[in-house]
């Protein structure tokens, strides 16, 4: 695995970028969460519902160039997947990429694609960003810097990015803290700066994130409670796509 591309509007992983150079000379391929099966916690493999021949013949990708909506349409057509960008949910009209998948791993209800194809209203920009590229972005609170993006925590059912892992570096002894994308005020992509709607003292007092310790829902409750925010699980979250 080389990278993940996420949608910077919905904060959802849209593709895995897989380095297949060992068997496809010099090629990277994209794998959509539409094809990802159930992950186990102790496995060392992400199972996908496509075969090697399908991957080999899939539309090529140049990872040095942005993924266009046109490419995505070709890709989705090739695999016979519904378009995620034309519906009321995070994945078309569903909230999970596997919602329309049958037991054989395919999407037989493509008759419904007629209205899954409508653009979300923002033209041809798919708003895809590389997780690798965003790692290292500076994080700025309302009253100053708090660290940089060290990583991401992802919900493997919806493939939503639930938290940015923030490394506080020298400012707070290198502790890691979590920041929800819901609390992001602005991102300056040119300057690689993420501004969050939090203040430094609140971040300093926030629960520390330890990647070696299990992270149950109770820990999320503590973090949201600390910042006085409603958890995304508490009430249906409303997102208006522009």
């Amino acid at each position: 695995m080389k990278d993940f591309y996420f949608d910077d509007e919905a904060w959802v992983i849209r593709y895995m970028v897989v380095d297949s150079s060992k068997w496809l000379s010099g090629r990277n391929v994209l794998i959509s969460p539409y094809s990802i099966g159930k992950l186990s916690w102790d496995g060392d493999t992400i199972p996908v519902t496509v075969n090697k021949e399908q991957v080999k013949n899939s539309p090529g990708i140049d990872s040095a160039l942005p993924v266009s909506r046109q490419y995505e349409a070709t890709y989705m057509g090739y695999y016979q997947y519904p378009h995620y960008w034309g519906g009321t949910g995070l994945w078309g009209d569903a909230n999970y990429p596997g919602a329309w998948r049958n037991d054989a791993g395919s999407y037989p209800y493509l008759g419904y694609q007629g209205y899954l194809h409508a653009p979300r209203g923002d033209g041809d920009d798919p708003h895809l960003r590389s997780c690798q590229a965003v790692k290292g972005y500076h994080i700025r609170a309302k009253d100053g810097e708090i660290g940089h993006v060290q990583g991401f925590l992802v919900d493997d059912a919806s493939w939503s990015i639930r938290y940015l892992i923030v490394n506080t570096s020298n400012w707070w002894m290198g502790h890691q803290v979590l920041v929800s994308p819901e609390w992001i005020q602005d991102i300056d992509w040119a300057e690689s700066v993420v501004t969050v709607d939090l203040d430094r003292q609140a971040v300093k007092n926030a629960p520390v994130y330890d990647p070696l310790v299990p992270f149950p829902r109770d820990a999320e409750v503590s973090i949201y409670g600390h910042y006085g925010r409603n958890g995304y699980w508490a009430e249906p979250t409303v997102r208006e796509f522009a």
């Binding site: 919905a10 059912a157 149950p216 829902r217 409750v221 249906p236």
Partner: protein
């Protein structure tokens, strides 16, 4: 699945606007992991990057 399709049919029967216009788009609502105490489902991208990708007939990367 049939029930899901029926719900969507019902939705669009009741909201028969022009779907190509943003103003006709309903708000996207979602609700996942609704209650505390559910099994852990969050994974770090860093850990995921370390996993192999297994197609139905072998590893692809």
């Amino acid at each position: 699945m049939a029930a899901q399709c029926q719900k969507i049919d019902q939705y669009w029967a009741a909201n028969s606007g022009d779907r190509t216009k943003p103003s006709a788009m309903p708000l996207a609502r979602y609700r996942d992991r609704p209650t505390p105490g559910e099994p852990e489902m969050l994974r770090s991208v860093e850990k995921l990057e370390g996993l192999a990708i297994g197609a139905t007939d072998g590893a692809i990367g």
